[in-house]
Amino acid sequence: MFKYIYLFLIIIIFPLCVSAMVPMSDNEMSTVTGQTGISIIIPDIDFGVTMTRLSLTDKDGLSGYPNPAYLVIDNIDHATFGNFNIGTKMAMGDTVAHKIGVDPATIYGSGFQSLDIDVGTDGSGSFINIELPKMQLYTGDFDDVHIRVADNQNGDYGTDLGYLSLPGLYFEGIGGNIKIRPEDIDGLGNNTGNGGIDFQITNTPFYLYNEKLIIRDADPMTTAGQDALELNQFYLHDGNNNPFIMRDGHFSLNVGQQYGKTWLKLKAHKWEGDLYANLGEMKWCGTQFGRWEIGRIIQYPDAHTYISGHNMGLDLEISARLDIENIYYIYGNKSNGEYNNSHMVHAAGSFSGTASNPSTWSFSGNLKIGDIANGRPATLDFGSNGTSNMLAINLPLKGALGIESIQLGGTDFGPVLIHGMNIKTFKINIPHP
């Protein structure tokens, strides 16, 4: 009864408020313009995300084994991601620059930077313009996440794959610009406005840094401290430990039909920037065994990823062309030649030239993982053969791989080249039944 009285009172009283308003005149309205945008100073906050279990399933199992299985990730209590806005955190000395030994003042400058949002129009149509703020995101607590393949969503009768800890993943953005607009589908710079999203990212510097990644054996009989692979102090930079700068990135997202099914297509039209990656420390069962320096990584235009499903399970094609100038594995003193290096690595669709003479090498097109035009996508399924649950991965591969110089202990062992690759089936079951 009371419920109806509340409702009645609200209905009769709320509209009266509207009658107290005065209409706005045309003259007053004419002073309102859309010339300005909005600026937001993002507050310093701790933002937490927690869950106790994540499960993924594929209800029709594997080819020949129609029993379903579940990938279960649990014990994620207090997996917290947090702390926007680097302002106070910089003052506390808790930034990537501090961690990698670079002067923070030269990286972040002084003062804050707001998030600015505008809507504008240029020759290609209307767009949302976002000037990015300085901000920091990091994972505060992500320890011993348990990963297994099981019979059901609760993780029962599971086969353990291991434990994963990621206790210090940092992302720091230091300004930059993003333009978002309907996808330029006709390729002529005209917006068709019929679906698809287009992102252009220019002069956007950022750090990605991970303090520790620990992959631990799930067997309780293994001695503590002798059961883990640690990949520590990983970060992306510009070659001089400054933030990586996306100078000119152009990406799009579309959904549509091709090759007889519907796909989600992510396309990197362009990605310009000097990208380097360092891994400061590797440990195996508590023993250090070296570090890695990788770069410069060059991404060629028109890379793409197609994603869809089959009846149940993931279909995928990744198509890209990359050059990597150096992949150093350093196991001692680099200046004393205590390293192995793969110099000038090429991943592409096809090769021409004289194999023994790298100066004649020429690469073109994209290396493909999965080949959807020929009905051979890369696939991921979860299933069981009745006795063992497993992840089943198939990675068809098509293209060419070349390394101009392999250096072992600082000594050059010459070039390596694989071309004309067309691996139609490359199956991996984890764990093996």
Binding site: I13, A20, I41, V49, M51, G87, F112, T262, S308
Partner: protein
């Protein structure tokens, strides 16, 4: 029940109080500054819930710019009948402050140094809160432009998913440029 009734009556009567006010003229308005603000205290618990079981993104002209070749990216319940997922936003004893002002001196808050002088702004102090998501199974799938011929990538289940603003160290400022 009586307590809830009293709260509702109070909420309903508040707008009526506006009728007792006199209109403010331009001269009086000139004297209004941003030196005061509004604090909203929520004593007790406010809970907002939203439920649903289907989320779809449609691309009309697909990958080839031709009508009829588009498709849907869909999150849908695999159950028959469909089972809803529910987002519950809960505020407990929350304080939410709003001020409007014009910057005419250097602020104590270093975050606000970048606001230009003589610029009006809104200052918001956010409350801490928790949002829980009861997430029933969702299948992640692609569908053609007729929402048919679904290809399912996987079925996802998230248990006890929650988002929270745990601490707020500084206010948010909003202004035009």
């Amino acid at each position: 029940m009586k307590k809830n009734f009293a709260i509702v009556i109070f909420i309903c009567i508040l707008p009526v109080a506006a009728f007792a006010m006199d209109a403010i003229d331009d001269i009086e308005m000139d004297n209004v500054t941003g030196s005061t603000g509004i604090d909203i205290f929520l004593a007790g618990t406010l809970e907002i819930q939203a439920s649903g079981h289907r989320l779809k993104y449609f691309d009309y002209d697909g990958l080839s710019a031709q009508a009829g070749t588009g498709g849907y990216l869909a999150l849908d319940s695999p159950h028959d009948p469909p089972q809803d997922s529910t987002l519950s936003l809960k505020l407990v004893n929350a304080k939410f402050s709003i001020d409007v002002g014009t910057k005419n001196s250097v602020f104590d808050s270093p975050n606000a140094d970048i606001i230009p002088f003589d610029t009006s702004f809104i200052r918001v102090e956010l409350p801490v809160f928790t949002a829980n998501l009861t997430f029933n199974d969702f299948q992640f799938q692609m569908e053609d432009n007729n929402e048919a011929n679904a290809n399912t990538m996987c079925i996802i289940q998230l248990t006890d998913l929650a988002f929270a603003i745990e601490h707020v160290y500084s206010p948010m400022y909003i202004y035009t440029h």
